[in-house]
Amino acid sequence: MKPSRIILLVAAAIFLVALGVNFASNTSSYADFVTAKESGKRVHIAGEWVNRDQASYDPEADLFKFYVQDSLNNIELVHFFDPKPNNFDQAEKVVLIGGYDKLSSGNMAFVADKIITKCPSKYEETEVKLEQTAL
């Protein structure tokens, strides 16, 4: 084998290892609120939006607060510093990307940096209205 080819292979191997290590150290896990609080890291939490009537958006502060129940049934108040995301009302499941932060009030709270909403697809639309009086 030519030396240049060996160098190339070594370079590619180093690149792939570096990529793999870096990717692995950057990935998070699907966690729950308790472990997220303990670890203090940014995590993915898949859960369900509960107590919907207690959710609120404060347009002045640009803060949307709502409750999420994670897979272990922990319920936590989530702070999201943006308006309510699109599709949120329809979401069957929400995935929060975020972690516990200290607010200016001094309290710790779960702050979502990003929210992924999973909605029932159009394909699952099973409601065929017989008479649409309200149109």
């Binding site: 792939l16 803060l63 599709n87 159009k122 099973t126 009086t133």
Partner: protein, 1039 residues
Amino acid sequence: MTGGFAGEMFVALAFAAALVAMVSFVFAEKETGTEAKKWERLGLGAFGAHIFSILGVIVTLFLLIYHHRYEYHYVWSHSSNELPVYYMISCFWEGQEGSFLLWCFWHCVLGGILMWRLDTEWRNLVMATIASVELILSSMILGVYAGQGWVYGIYILLAALPLAYAGYQLWKQTSSPQGTSPLNGAFHLGTVMMGLIVLAMIVRGQMGFYFDWSITSSFDSFSHAIFTLLLIGTAGYASLFGVSLRQSGEQAPQPADIFAGLSMLAIALGAAMFPADLWKVGSTPFVMLRDALPDAEAFQQNPDFIPSNGTGLNPLLQNYWMVIHPPTLFLGFASTTVPFAFVVAGLVKRKYKEWIRPATPWTIFSVMILGVGIIMGGYWAYETLNFGGYWNWDPVENGSLVPWLVGVASLHIMVIYQKARTHLRLSMILVILTFLLVLYATFLTRSGILGDTSVHTFTDLGLSGQLLVLCLVYAIGIVVLMALRWKEIPAKVDEAKVWSAEFFLFLGVLVFLFSSAVVLLSTSLPVFNKIFGSNVAPPPELQYFYYKWNVWFAVGFGVLSGMAQFLWWKKGRDKSVVDALFRPFVVAMVAGSAVLVALFYYEMEFAYHSKAQTLLEQAGEAGFAQALFKYIEFAFVVLADELLLFSAIFSFVANLDVLISMVATKKVKLMMMGGSLAHIGFALMLLGMLFSSGYDEVISKNLTPDQLNGFPEQEKADNVLLVKDKPRYIKGYEVTYLGRKEAQKPVKDIQVIEENASAFKVSFRDSTGDVFAMVLPRDVFLKKEEGESVIHPTSDRSGSMSPDLDGEIDMEYTEWFLNTNLKYLRPKHINNRVLYGLQFRALTDSSHKFVLYPEAEDNETMGSIIAHPSRKVYLDRDIYVHVSWTPNDEEMEPKYRYHDLNLKVGDTAHIGQNTLILGTVYDLSQREEMKKFEIAAAARMFATAGSDTFYADPIYLVSKEGKPGMIEANIEPLHMSMAFVGINPKDGSMQFQIQELLNPDQDMVVFKAISKPWINVLWLGTFILTFGFLLAIYRRVKG
């Protein structure tokens, strides 16, 4: 009902024809002489029939959508009455079935061109490969349901027998030493084809009607007639063909053919009675709504129910970019099949070198179209979605980016081969990989496997197994073929010189491959999770992860593309490389430094510099090993953007230099400039991305920190609340919310788009051309019987008469009504959209102002507003504005509180924060204009709010006849309205009614504004890149 039947026939025919075409082309390649010619003709004919059938499917589906045939599930779930014709075409790509159809369509177009243009050397195998892809793709829309129960097993067996027999005959004839009788071959292929059609038809439980005769309501006599005719035709086909064979003197296998026809007839009639859905192949776009959703309440009550309106096209797709972006992207996908087909042909025919030349223009074409398609998608996202950018690193976007990156790599390896005759195997591998990655992307996006990692919604239509098979068939097949031929493929072990164009080209290829590896790795995470049963989530800072890796590939591209282009054209000149590259290098350093100084001067900060700062802080706290990694990462992050700036400018200048010297020496024609132009375009795109994404800035920073109650320190408010007519300042502008954009009189083009027994919905165009829609009660607007009363606009239409449900809506009256009451009706734009007028006035130049209309759409199916941004486009940047929050209609309704007061002169009362004082009451009855009243009195009412005092004079009147009346008075600043309603004769106290508006600032909006510098450089670069590709294709086709 018959429309869907025709569609299903076309699908089945397309599937069968693709099979025939594939087999025929393979035999045409295998045979020689006149036999081959005959096979070839059969193949061409069959592919022609396939093209015809696919067009038939598309036309049928379009007609169903066009005629609002909501008894079909696809039409119901993807379109609606509101949909303009030009968006109906978008219905094709909202559903998976439609997008498979689109993909098929492009293969047909490409296959048609190849059949026509390609010489016979390549045609057979290339077409066979394309037909094989078409076979699988059309199976995706077959919607065949295979059997249930033992009865079904028998029928399938019966159907399979003639197929197997015909197949056996084919095999026997082709492998016999005398060769094939093409007519016989055609006959058996025909049997296979017809057998498949019948199979497809009968095995399906849902064909537009159940075959269970007891459900007479859903049985359609016309469909039945066609079905019967088709069966008779199929059965007769065998004997007729047999006769013609005998007459032509060729050997005809008679008994088996008659058996074939009869058994088909038998299974058709028998199996038809047992609908089943044990497992299905494909998902047809022609399934009836009641068959798709048999449990829906509506069908329980009325099996014949047909909805009067569809659920509509996703509003995000109702954008002109969505009319052209998906077809472009799918053309890009489909065109990767062509170079792949050439590789297959080259491998099979052992023409390992020759395939590259005819395949190259196709590779350029697919890279060009795929690139344009991706950018169009980005532009659509930028214009329609509100995430504030054109690229989100979503798995769906990555799915098409990865094949593009590998495609670019394959193109360059092919170019290297043509110059230096090296890397033949690698060029094959990369072309194959591009195609496989397109299949893989399809699998990712359509199988539902992406799950939690994508914001896009995907549903498994039950096709994931089929998609996986599609990927594996090609992956395994091509690996086996490649392995068989590996040793034979010439591999020239010739070292490229270090300072040669090929060397830098090869490094460039590596850069693109590494980049694609990064994107592919993290996009495939859900697949790894599935395979290994793990539960790993993608990096929380996904954008940053992609950035920190890919920015270095971009730097690599800049440097390498500049050097490679230079060496490519300058080779053999006197100048040394260092001399030649000196000028672009110096220009890049000077220009780059100037830009850096300008950035510093304007205090523009790169998006990830704060990230670097965080890394540095973290490193201080971490242990040695971790700290080391953090420092390394810091160094990488802090240097990357400056280096990208320099290298992109270097690439731009070096390529421009090459271009200018070409023009100056007049040695090279325009068509040779494709490469330089493409690289210039890509360098500009990188600069555009660096600035628009790295130096973008939220200018709607909330400048009043006292409003940021409860904010964590690191968070800042990027959204600003505007109350109507109250200006606020953001960076560089004063912004005023002018209110919603209302319909302007006169309205025209009134159309009823939906109606039922009690209400109807009209759409109309206002004087500015905007389209609005609203719902009106039906009975009020019905046409009156002739003679019952004269239709007069002002006549009272409401009330007494009983609603005539069958009546026609009086359009004339509706138009009059809308025009008269437009101000109060306040209709929304069609699809429940509201446009919010935001006026921007530049702080530096108050004469410079503009109004933007970002939209918010109140979407019922999505359950919340969908914001569409609006932009002010400057040459050097965009101001990108979208609505983030709006009060809903209920909150917009004015809310009042009423207070009844009993006051004497000098009394005070408290209304909310304000204090009211009844100052004095004076008699007006002596005044000339008040002479007609018995009593006319005015009260001087003072209202104090803080340090301000206002007054108003409500008036109390009693006519000569003793009828009371009043004139209200308002205090606008306090949102109060007062009525003087009576005087108590006993104690002389006076009664007042105060109306207090509780939500005076109800018309408001929260918005976000982002400045995106140099974004137009990105779009400009795209145009130049595409133009460069076009020149390169032209040169290779002509030259």
